[in-house]
Each structure stands twice: as structure tokens, then as C-alpha cells.
Symmetry: C2
Subunit: 230 residues, 2 copies
């Protein structure tokens, strides 16, 4: 292993151990000494990679951002209609939040806006929901009813944020079963009868396994820190 | 004003000022000295009423619990069907969270489980949603479809928790307009066509104004602290 490979591994171990510490103790209470100890490195090694706790937190957030974007993207094969891609993306995000501590801690830190970076992952998700619903409307997949598109966006964003928050205590809220149930409730009120017949509330296409997810996270961290091309 | 009335007023001012401090700085960072100063009393007066920061937090939570239960209850006139009462209750809770700092801070503290009391307000809301949907099913108001009752409960609970969390930054998420839009999206997928015609997604009956809400909070605090009968 070259010196550079070792440095990348150490950095990755620190990001993961920071995510665990933030999740266990919260950002304010997490200690740098604990983060380096969990990663099996000296406090000096931590300071070589990160100048402060806020800097570690920003990296956990940006790594989470890259993983979440990739997961949402991979869940949207181009030959699938926009409503199905929306359901797929929500499954992918929930799956990653359920299985990956860096994605989970990074999303939460970002929501609490503690580290002062410019990233807004909730806003990105809202933008993704808006765009896919606009596409679904343009393709004639949506019922025109009393509810406006803005109402639909708000309902979906609120529910998915609710799943994330409730999932912090009880991972069942982020399970494939819960998300599938959500789309079973919501899709019949959104999709035209024709479109509805083709939609799978359980998602289609890529279903990341735990192993794939973890591989993705390593890659995401490398990208977020500039150590690998996207 | 008798000595006892003065004590009740001071206690109420302390609860309100604690709620403001918890909302501004978070529980961990809030200072008892700041709480007493905001309430215009001495640190000694605070210690006369509350033995610790956790004790103030528990009282903020229990006061919030009483206000939220009352608001949900008042929004459910007995001659209204169960689905309408569910929509009404959600409007009442959102309205209270939007306008009342004690309800808002108490709900949030309770979700973060910082003060170690036995109260679980999210669980209570979930129980309320479950009960009203069971009643709606028994009264034949619900479409029997692919979605199970548990799916519907989870979707409604997740969305309303999402509104609360998102509303911490942007009160528009707890507005009457946003909640009405949510029910416009969800009700057509839940209610039979017959029932749907009678439902108002904007809620019916009591709409607490800001003034009424504040009066309710004073009363709730008196009840939660045993100074007045419920």
C-alpha cells in the first residue's frame, strides 16, 4: 500500500468514526479524541486531515451528499417513467439512510446546519421531487384534481423528511415495507388510472444491497474529498 | 393579586421564557441564568419553582402536552365524521405549533427525549391517528384498496412529523394552507366518493385564533402544574 493509499484509508476511517460519534453523542457533545480513537489513529493524524470538528462535520455532510445523490441517480434508469423514478429515488434514499452511518449522520448534521457549510440536502431532495413531478405532469401521468402540484410536492417532501426523522429512533420507518406502503397510499391519488397500472410502489430496478451501499460510500468519500473522479 | 397568584404568574413566565431559550439555543446550550433574566425574575425565584434545567424542560413538555391534547380535542366536535375530525385535529396541532412557543419547544424537547420524562407526544399523535382511522373504517368512510390501514397511519404520521420538523425553520410548513394542501392530496385516496363530498380539507369548526391559543396555553400550564382543574 502506498503512502497516499494509506492516507485515503485513514481519512475514510476518520469520516466513518466521526459519523458514528455524531450519531451517538450529537455534534455538540462529540469529542475529537473519541473520533480518532474509534478510527484507531492518533489525535495528530486526525489534525493532519481535519483542522477542526466543524471541518470533519462538513466532510461527513459532503460525503453523505455525494452518496445520496448517487443512490437517487442510480435508482432512475432512463427508460422508466417519472413517477416510478420518484418512488425509486425515495426507496434508494431511505435504504441508504437505513444502512449507512455516514449518509445518516451527514444528512442529520446538514438538517441541523451545525457545521456552517453551503450544502442543503433537504432542499436538494425537494428540487428532485419538484423536477420529477413536473416531468410526470408533462408526460400526462398525473390526475388533474383539486390538489395543486405544490401540494403534492409538499406532501411527499414532508412525509419523506418525517420518515428520516422517525427513522433515527426506529429504523422500521425507513424500511422498504414502510416506503412501499407510503406509495400505495399516495400514488392512486396522483397517477392517472392508466399510469397507475404500470407503477410499482415497491420501486423497480436497482435495489442496493448492504454490500453495494458500503462500496458506494467508500467511492463517494473519495469523490467528495477529491481523491477520485466522480 | 394574592401571593399564590403571583407565584403562578412567575411560574408561567419562567415556562415561557425557558421555551424561548430552548428554542433559540437548544436544550444543552440554554442557561438557567438567561431563563430567569428573560422572565424578569431572580435566579433564586427560578430555583424556588424548578430544581434543575431538566425539571424546567419536563414542565415545558407537559404543558405542551396539555395544550396539544386540548387543541386536538376541541377540533373534534362529536357530530363530525372521523376523517373530518382527523383533518381538524391536524390543523389544530399545526396551528398551535405555529403560534405557541411552549407547545413548539415542548414538542421538540419531547422528540429529542432530553429531559427523561415518560411522555411521548409523537406516540400519542400516532395513537390518535390510529383511533380516528379505525373509527372511519368502522363507519364505512374508507376505500378498501391496496394500501393497508397501517400504511395510511404511517403516511399521515410521517407527513405531520415532517411538517413539524420543517416548520422549525420555515413556519409556512405549519400553515393552514400547507395542511389543507396535504389533505387535498391524501383524502381522495382514502375516502369513499360519498364521504369525500362531505369533507373539507381545510378543517371545520373551531379555528383557534392567536388570542384564543394563548389563553389556552395559560390554562394548560395551570392544569399541567396542578394550579387549576382540567
Amino acid at each position: 500500500m502506498t503512502k497516499q493509499e494509506r492516507a485515503v484509508r485513514t481519512r475514510h476511517a476518520l469520516i466513518r468514526s466521526a459519523a458514528q460519534a455524531f450519531e451517538l453523542h450529537g455534534y455538540a457533545q462529540a469529542k475529537l479524541a473519541d473520533i480518532s480513537a474509534r478510527a484507531g489513529v492518533s489525535p495528530g493524524a486526525l489534525h493532519f486531515h481535519f483542522e477542526s470538528k466543524a471541518a470533519v462535520a462538513r466532510t461527513v455532510e459532503s460525503t453523505a451528499g455525494v452518496s445520496l445523490r448517487r443512490a437517487a441517480w442510480l435508482a432512475q434508469p432512463p427508460d422508466t417513467n417519472a413517477l416510478q423514478r420518484l418512488a425509486n429515488a425515495s426507496h434508494a434514499l431511505a435504504g441508504l439512510l437505513r444502512t449507512d452511518v455516514v449518509a445518516r449522520a451527514g444528512f442529520r448534521l446538514n438538517c441541523e446546519a451545525v457545521s456552517g457549510g453551503g450544502l442543503n440536502l433537504r432542499q436538494e431532495w425537494r428540487g428532485c421531487v419538484e423536477q420529477l413531478l413536473a416531468e410526470a405532469a408533462a408526460d400526462g401521468l398525473l390526475i388533474t384534481r383539486r390538489a395543486s402540484r405544490a401540494d403534492v410536492v409538499a406532501a411527499i417532501v414532508a412525509a419523506t423528511i418525517g420518515f428520516e426523522v422517525l427513522g433515527r429512533r426506529d429504523p422500521e420507518w425507513l424500511s422498504h415495507r414502510t416506503l412501499t406502503g407510503f406509495w400505495r397510499v399516495v400514488l392512486p391519488g396522483l397517477a392517472t388510472p392508466d399510469a397507475l397500472g404500470d407503477l410499482d410502489p415497491g420501486g423497480t430496478g436497482i435495489r442496493p444491497t448492504r454490500r453495494e451501499t458500503e462500496g458506494g460510500v467508500v467511492q463517494a468519500e473519495l469523490e467528495a474529498t477529491g481523491a477520485a473522479p466522480p
